[in-house]
Structures are given as C-alpha cells and as structure tokens.
C-alpha cells in the first residue's frame, strides 16, 4: 500500500502501476537484457546519484528533471527518496501541422 505522502509524488497512472502492478498500456516500457520490464518516467529530484543508486537507468538530466528507466521495484525505491519530489509519466505531444478545412 502506498502512503498518502508517496501517492502525492505520483501521477494517477503510476499510482495504479505501483498499487496494482499492472501495465495497462499507459506506459512507455521496455525490457532489460535480464528480462525485467522498465518504465520510462520523469523524476523531479535534487540528487541524481540517489536515483541512480536504486538501479534505475538514467538517460537525461536537466537540472531537477531526470528521465529514468526503472523497474517497479526501483520505482518503489525512488519513491522513498527524500530528494525526489515527483515521479510522472511523460505526457504526449503532437505535431503542430494544421489540416486545412477550407480549401476551395
């Protein structure tokens, strides 16, 4: 069970993932060579080393914004870190092409 403090760091899909352990297609996930499933998340944190120490793979760090690929176990560890303020799934952006509706 997640505490309220822990829930407050997560967005709804991650709450579901860490509560139920299921992946309902909401995540960008991949497999490590050992077969474990990792989920791609954005972590808002002040200490990247602590995140890395959980075993999570970090692909980007820009200030407090960290992109990490972590298993559910690693996510749980990350969640416990005091230096971590939030863990989020990445939002989706779309191309900004406008399809014209008013062609003559």
């Amino acid at each position: 069970m997640l505490s309220e403090t822990e829930k407050a760091k997560l967005d709804p899909p991650l709450i579901r993932l860490l509560t139920n352990g299921d992946n309902v297609g909401e995540f960008d996930s991949s497999k490590r060579s050992d077969g474990s499933t990792t989920y791609t998340v954005v972590i808002i944190a002040s200490q990247e080393d602590e995140v890395r120490a959980t075993g999570a793979t970090i692909s980007s760090i820009f200030g407090s914004v960290i992109v990490a690929h972590a298993t559910i176990d690693e996510l749980r560890k990350i969640l416990l870190l005091k230096s971590v303020r939030a863990i989020q799934t990445g939002s989706q952006k779309i191309i900004q092409r406008k399809k014209p509706k008013e062609l003559q």
Binding site: E4, A86, Q92, I95, Q96
Partner: protein, 914 residues
C-alpha cells in the same frame, strides 16, 4: 582557417592550370576582353558555372560593350537589347570567341548569375539576401552549425539533404527512437532504446555500397517538410524551394509518427548536447510539436529541460506556438467560498470508436498557487463525482464513462492542478454525449484559475468548452522560458499542384496576416508568448518518399519532391534556420542573445499592429537585420515592398516579342533594389509559353519614360516561374542603388521573341505607373502591372572588426554560481571577440591555485566549471577564493593585438564550503 586557405590554393591552382590551357588557344587580345567567368567557361566546356547566367541550351547571357551593333548583326549575332554603349545577347562559347575578336567590341561580361527561384517564405525573412552575401560580403548559409529536427523522421534520401556530390549526405546521424528491432542496429551511446544511423551508413546507401541497412522512414512527411524548411538546399528542383540554412549540418531524431512522449523529447535534448560536443559545433533544436496539457507557465518537465539545455552558449530551441487559436480551448474564472465556479463541457452526439480508452476528453485546471479547491464532476445524466483535495479518485462504474480526477499540487511549480479525465474503460460506456460540468469550490480565500481542454477524441469528433476562449492557447513546451516560440503568418494564399490545378485557402487573400489558427499568448504566468512570427501557411518544402500520397493531390506541388503544409509547425523551422544562420556566424551566442536579436529586429506593420502582442510576439521574423545587428548593434536594415495599388488583381496582360513593360516606383528611402515580386495569373490562363528567360532591369527616369539602365539585368528561366503566386526575383549583386523620392523603373522583357509571359494587373491602379514599349515608343497603360520592387536600406553597418564598442558581446565576468559551493561551481564570462583569455583562481593570500582557461577564444559567452581542486588535483580547503580573467584581443589570425586600451581584467570572489 586552414581549410579555407587550402581551398583558396586549390582554386588558384585549378584556375592557373585552366588558364594555361586556355591561354594557349586564345590570343591575349581576345582574352583581355572577356570577364574572368567567361574565360573560365570557354576554357572548360562542360563546367557549370554558378556565377554565369546560362540557359538550358548552353548559351550564355552576356553584355557586349560595343557602339557598333551593326557589326554584330552582320555577323549573325542575335541582339536581344540594344543600348548606346552595349547590347545584350545570348551567345554560345564559339560566338563569345567570335565576338571577342571584333575590333568594335571592348568587353564582354556575363549577365547577372542565373538566380535560383526561391519561394516566397525564405526571402520574406531576409534569409535569401544573407545567402547571397548582403552582409559583410559573406554568404551566410548556416555553415558550422547543426540543426536537429525532432519530429516524424526524415527522408534521408531526399536530394535536398545531400551535398553537391549527391552520394554525400548533409545528415550527420539519425536516431530513430521508435525502432525496437534489435537487428536494425544499436541505440546511441548513453541510451537503451531506438537505433542510431551514422552519416557513413547513409552515404553507403546513397552510393550503393550497401542496401536496406537504414530502416528509418518518415511515413507522415511532417519531419521531412520541417527539416527542409530549416535546412533544405533545394537541390531537387533548381533551388526553387531552398531552406533557411541550406549549408547547416542536419541531425534527425524520429520520436513518433504523429505523437511524441515527453520523456523521449527530453532525451532528444541530451542527444543534441552530446552531438554538439562530439562535433564541436553549435546546435539548434526544432520542436514543431506540442500540446495543451501542463501549467502553461514554462514548468513542465520538457520546458524545464529546455531552460537547462540552453544555459550553455551555442544552443537554442525553437518551438511552434500551437494551432489552437480557433478551438476555444481555454476557460478562466474565479472561485470563492460564496461563489463556486462551474466549467461546462459539451460532448457531441457521436459514434464511439471501437476499442477501450479511445473515446475521451481531458480537462486540465490550474491555480496560481496551491490553494485548496475541491472539484465535483457531473455527467449529462447527473452522475456526480467529487474529488477532495490532494487525491486521485476514479469512478470506474459510471454508465456515462469512467471519470478520473487528480487533485494535487504540482512538484514543478507548487501550483494546484485538477485534471479531469473521462474515458471509456469499457467499450460499453464511452463518455456520454451532452453537457458535463466541473464545479470548483473552496472554503476560504478566492482564486482565479485557468482551464484548458487539453485533449479530446470522441468518435473522431471534438469536445468543446462552453464560453471557451482562445487566450493562453500557446501550448507546452511552447511556454518555455528558454525556447524561442514561433507564431505563424501567411506569405502565400495560392499554390499550384503538380497537375497544374491551382489551390487556395478560402475567403479573402490573407497574405501577410496572422494565420487564423496560430495560438495566442500570453503564458499562464503572464509572460510574453509567442516570441516572434514566421511564415507558416502554404509552405512548400520537401516531400518524404515514404508518404502515401493517395488523395493528397491538393498538397503535392512537385511529384515525389515537394508538398505544401501549414501550421505553426512550418513557422518554427524558419526560426530554427534563422538561429542556425546566427550560430554559424557566432558559434558562442546564447539562446537568450539569439532570442534578443530575433525579437528586437522583428518587423511590425499594419497587420501586426503594436508589438509585442499575444498574436505576433515581437513581429515578423527578419533574420537579415538580426544578422546585421549581431555584428553591429547600431545596425538597421529595412526592406520595403513598394506597393501603390490595391490588394487584388484585375485582368491579365501579355508580354512577348520585342515588347517591354516598365513599372515606375518611387523609393521612400535611399537604398538598393534587392528584388522584385511579379504576380502571374493561374495556370488555366497558360501564363508561360516558351523556355527562354525573363529579363528584369532597373532604369532611371527620363521625363516619365525609362532612361538609363542602372546595374546589370537579372534573368530568370520562364520554366521556374510559378503561376498564380508572387514570384520573388532577387538582385544578388545589390548594386542597383536608388534614391528616395526619385522615380525609377523596373523593366521586364523576354529574351526570346517567340516566348510569352502573362502578368496580372492590379485591381486598382493609380498614378499611371505602368508603360509599354512596343519596339519603338513607350505608352502609358491604364492598369498597373502587379510588379513590386523591394528596396533595402541599411545604416549603422561597418566593416568587420570595426565598431568595437558596438559589438554584440561585451566584456563580462559574472558572479560564480552556486556560491558558496561545495562540489563544483560555474564561472560565466563574455569576451567581445577573438582574444587571448586567461582565467585563474587565487587563494586569499594571492597564490595562484588553478588555471581554468589559457587559450585564444572567439567572441562569445563561456562557462567554466571549477571543482575546488588545485592544479595537481588536491581538494582545497574551505575558504574564500578569487577568480580573475585577463583578456587581450587578437586579430583574425590569432596574433595578439597591441592595444592596451582593449585589455580587460576583472576579478570575482567565491566561497568554497566543505
């Protein structure tokens, strides 16, 4: 520099060999009458000379200086135009030699170089003049800078991304983030997903050394189009559709076919900084993507990542503002204990999509603080669902659809977000059609909130907010502080399809007006957004070979090569290319400086009204003046399109035979004629017959008629002109000087009397500005031709190296950060131009403990990190330290200047805490 020297010597060597061969065949007397380009052309029969006007039958447009035209005529030379001192003609190489042997002929010079026909949007920004060397006599084409396009991929085979040796690619590498097939290749270093392809792999494919080793495709076509607007060199079609920075290096990162995960976007920035470091070049990233979720205040993860990315000089990110100015996606209101506020959402009657979670709408509500607010959602059948503060609550058993409400305080800005997501967790219960409401209430205080309809799709239809508005629709990541956010305006209203059918947007021609869809600012926190506007409608650029063009005939302009698109997606790469031009000239510009240059030089007019505003930002992109200002901050460059008549067109006139048309113009400033616009009628009028050239000339005024010719003529292959639209014809040599308030004429004719070109008249004509020459006399015409001259005026420009105090960069040594520091600290400084730079650290007793920099550096902003260690790697003790910069400028070769007045020295104080 070494490369340049080597190239110059190579050129000298080739010319000397070439001239040796040539000189052995042609008498010196004849040789001395030929312009060097003509000597070169004659000496090497198959050489394609860029600076020589040449038609497709290998005849050269030449000006023959002679007073005896009769001798030419009697020798069988066909004269196109005859003047007192010279004639114009099209000659073969043999004829050039023949003519050079005539006693009466003093000199033969080529006509102006055969200009590529450039489409209207790139010239509109001033980039075409930069390409042609208008500033500093230097051609700025993005050389030395990298443009990274994060998009739907790239057609890496497209000619516009290749070098002149078409087996060589301008693409440095491609990262296909979407490729999950391990056998296709490996991810880039530092990443665990996708496949990276190298330039060598691409070139092996292009040269046939390998086959089917690159699996990246752009099936959408969006990324290829965007990439070509920013960087295309127009190689596919005689440089008609050339991009903004046609010699920049290219990196393509494919993040999806339509949508993109924000985590992958952030990884793209990491990839960009890795590649910039690897190649040692500045980089500008283009994001023609976005959305309406997020706080719209620059604090989404991708926006914070941009801010961090651009802290290093030599990096910039351009982002499209969004296309949501017509969708009424925004709503704002005020909540107080006595007055809860309600947001109403209309879900239309629709046929649901088949699967689960494919019918949905998503509302994102943001407060300016963390105030406690409760949300109550009511469905059309009055199912009510309340979300207390700081909860994620989900109602999955509703027959009106699954309702999820996330009521929390964001970690990135500490503001409260209430996200309402209604979807079909089971296909039986999609969101019910009708009116949904979200009521916001609080127990104390009052607060104003913003709400966005962040996303929706119900059976392919849209959902709408009741009483929604279009304010604050600049999306994310476009509200990033560090990004340059780009709005879209129209530079073209009509375009021809490959089948010759003319297409247009509906209604009145809105050329030069803001695009109806271009998202409106400000950011949610009130900051100015967008930053600048660039062409974004009817943009014609590269077509990916992977696109299924079935039913896309309206958009295909040249089969298999070019297509039309519109959107702020198309505006952003104009700005990206402009940034690449600046970074090519000044590799150490910061993103802030680039933004400042682009916004301070953006143009305003009757369409933009007062700027900045939330539609246009600071106005229309003007990279020509921005580049000038990057060298001299006092520089002003103004381009005026002289227009005297109506905004529409009337009937059509035909130009053929020995006729000439002249249109009188009266500059309002002293300047140079740098181009003209000619408007042709639709294809159905058959406006172009023949394969010769259109000759354009500038004349002085002689009592109301064209008098003396000013400057050389400019010619353009008729085949490269486009029906229905403005054709931009540039004067690259820019020596046609004109004077304010005096009359001049632009005169057009065809070189081949059997050719015909049709031109539109203005719908309202005044001043009798158009005249027709019938072979013997000029006569005034009732309607003016729709031909407009472009006058460019400059002031405040000096030669490079001068105007020292007016340089973009200054001497600066900033306070280190963080300070005090523990592990490491960053010291930022700026030097005005190339010079010997020395940055050292001293302890409290004045003993030097570390040299951080001791090299010659170009002008720019730099950052250096110090890890608190001495020269020999010993961790120093806590205490006060001083950092000191010394700078002495050098000349361009790196030799130290002997100017004590320009010596710069400054110190800063910092505290190391262990």
């Amino acid at each position: 520099m070494k490369l340049l020297v080597r190239n110059i010597w190579t050129l000298v060597f080739m010319l000397s060999v070439h001239m040796t061969l040539f000189c052995s065949e042609v008498p010196h007397k004849q040789l001395s009458k030929l312009h060097p380009f003509l000597r070169s052309a004659i000496g090497k029969p198959n050489q394609s000379l860029h600076k020589l006007a040449q038609n497709i039958s290998t005849r050269y447009n030449v000006i023959i200086y002679t007073k005896n035209a009769g001798e030419l005529n009697s020798s069988g030379i066909r004269i196109n135009s005859k003047y007192s001192e010279f004639v114009t003609a099209q000659l073969t190489k043999e004829q050039i030699l023949q003519v050079s042997d005539m006693e009466s002929v003093r000199y033969i010079t080529p006509g102006k170089k055969m200009l590529p026909q450039i489409d209207v949007s790139v010239p509109e920004t001033g980039a075409s003049l930069l390409h042609s060397g208008f500033i500093n006599n230097t051609s700025y084409k993005g050389n030395g800078a990298i443009v990274l396009i994060y998009d739907t991929g790239i057609d890496w085979k497209h000619l516009d991304f290749r070098k002149s040796d078409t087996t060589k690619s301008r693409i440095l590498c491609i990262w296909d983030q979407t490729d999950t097939i391990a056998t296709h290749g490996n991810p880039p270093a530092g990443f665990t997903y996708g496949v990276e392809y190298s330039q060598l792999q691409i070139e092996n494919e292009l040269s046939g050394l390998s086959n089917n080793t690159i699996h990246e495709e752009d099936i959408n076509g969006h990324g290829t189009h965007v990439a070509s607007t920013a960087t295309g060199n127009g190689l596919s079609n005689n440089q008609k559709y050339i991009g903004m920075a046609p010699e920049a290096d290219i990196i393509a990162v494919k993040g999806g076919d339509y949508s993109f995960d924000e985590t992958n976007m952030i990884d793209c920035l990491t990839y960009a900084q890795n590649k910039a470091a690897e190649y040692g070049k500045p980089i500008v990233v283009n994001w023609s993507i976005g959305g309406q979720d997020g706080a719209h205040d620059g604090t989404s993860p991708s926006e914070l990542a941009i801010d961090e990315f651009v802290r290093t000089p030599g990096r910039a990110v351009c982002v499209s503002a969004g296309n949501d100015a017509i969708h009424l996606l925004h709503f704002n209101g005020i909540i107080s204990p006595s007055s809860p506020d309600t947001i109403q959402i209309n879900v239309p009657i629709y046929l649901p999509n088949k699967d689960t979670e494919d019918d949905y709408f998503y509302i994102s509500i943001w407060l300016p603080d963390s105030q406690a607010v409760t949300a109550t959602v009511k469905s059309p059948s009055n199912i009510t669902f309340t979300s207390p503060i700081n909860t994620d609550t989900i109602c999955s058993n509703s027959s009106d659809g699954t309702i999820e409400v996330w009521n929390h305080v964001s970690a990135t800005n500490s503001h409260r977000e209430i996200a309402v997501y209604v979807f079909d967790s089971t296909a039986q219960h999609p969101p019910r059609s009708g009116k949904w409401t979200v009521t916001l209430s609080m127990t104390s205080g009052s607060v104003q909130y913003d709400c966005w309809l962040a996303d929706s799709d119900v059976g392919g239809s849209g959902v709408s907010l009741v009483n929604g508005n279009n304010n604050k629709t600049v999306g994310t990541p476009a509200t990033s502080r560090g990004a340059i956010t780009v709005a879209s305006y129209a530079t073209k209203w009509y375009w021809p399809t490959s089948s010759g059918v003319m297409q247009s947007y509906g209604g009145t021609d809105q050329t030069q007006n803001i695009s109806y869809y271009s998202s409106i600012g400000p950011a949610a926190d009130g900051r100015q957004k967008p930053d600048v506007a660039a062409p974004g409608q009817a943009i014609i650029a590269a077509l990916s070979r992977n696109v299924d063009t079935t039913n896309k005939w309206r958009d295909i302009v040249i089969t298999d090569k070019y297509q039309r698109m519109q959107g702020t997606s198309m505006a952003a790469p104009h700005c990206t290319g402009a940034s690449a031009l600046l970074l090519g000239a000044h590799p150490n510009l910061t993103a802030e400086q680039i933004k400042s240059l682009l916004t301070s030089t953006a143009n305003s007019d009757s369409y933009t009204a007062n700027v900045p505003n939330y539609y246009w930002g600071y106005g229309k992109l003007d990279i020509l003046e921005a580049m000038a200002k990057s060298f001299w901050n006092t520089a002003n460059v103004t381009r005026n399109v002289l227009s005297y008549d109506g905004s529409g067109s009337n009937n059509i006139v035909t130009l053929s035979g020995s006729e000439k048309y002249a249109v009188r113009f009266t500059p309002t400033t002293n300047g140079k004629v740098t181009g003209i616009q000619i408007n042709l009628p639709p294809q159905i009028s058959n406006p172009i017959i023949g394969d010769g050239v259109l000759i354009c000339e500038i004349f002085s005024n002689n009592n109301g008629n064209p008098g003396s010719k000013i400057d050389n003529s400019v010619s353009r292959n008729l085949a490269l002109l486009s029906p229905t639209t403005n054709n931009y014809i540039q004067w690259t040599d820019t020596s046609a000087k004109v004077i304010s308030e005096e009359d001049f004429f632009v005169v057009i004719s065809v070189n081949n009397p059997s050719d015909t070109i049709k031109i539109l008249n203005e719908d309202i004509s005044s001043g009798n500005r158009t005249m027709l020459f019938d072979g013997s006399n000029w006569s005034t015409q009732t309607y003016n031709l729709r031909i407009r001259s472009i006058i460019t005026s400059t002031s405040g420009l000096a030669s490079i190296g001068q105007s020292f105090e007016n340089r973009l960069f200054t001497f600066q040594l900033n306070q280190n950060f963080p300070n005090p520091f523990n592990i490491s600290t960053t010291i930022e400084y700026q030097i005005p131009y190339k010079g010997m730079t020395n940055l050292k650290v001293f302890d409290l007793l004045g003993r030097q403990v570390k040299t951080l920099i001791d090299v010659v550096q170009d002008g720019g902003t730099y950052r250096v990190q110090w890890d608190g260690k001495s020269e020999d790697g010993v961790v120093l003790s806590s205490g006060v330290y001083y950092y000191q910069i010394e700078y002495l400028p050098t000349d361009f070769s790196g030799t130290l200047a002997n100017h004590k007045s320009t010596f710069f020295k400054k110190s800063g104080r910092m505290v190391l805490l262990k």
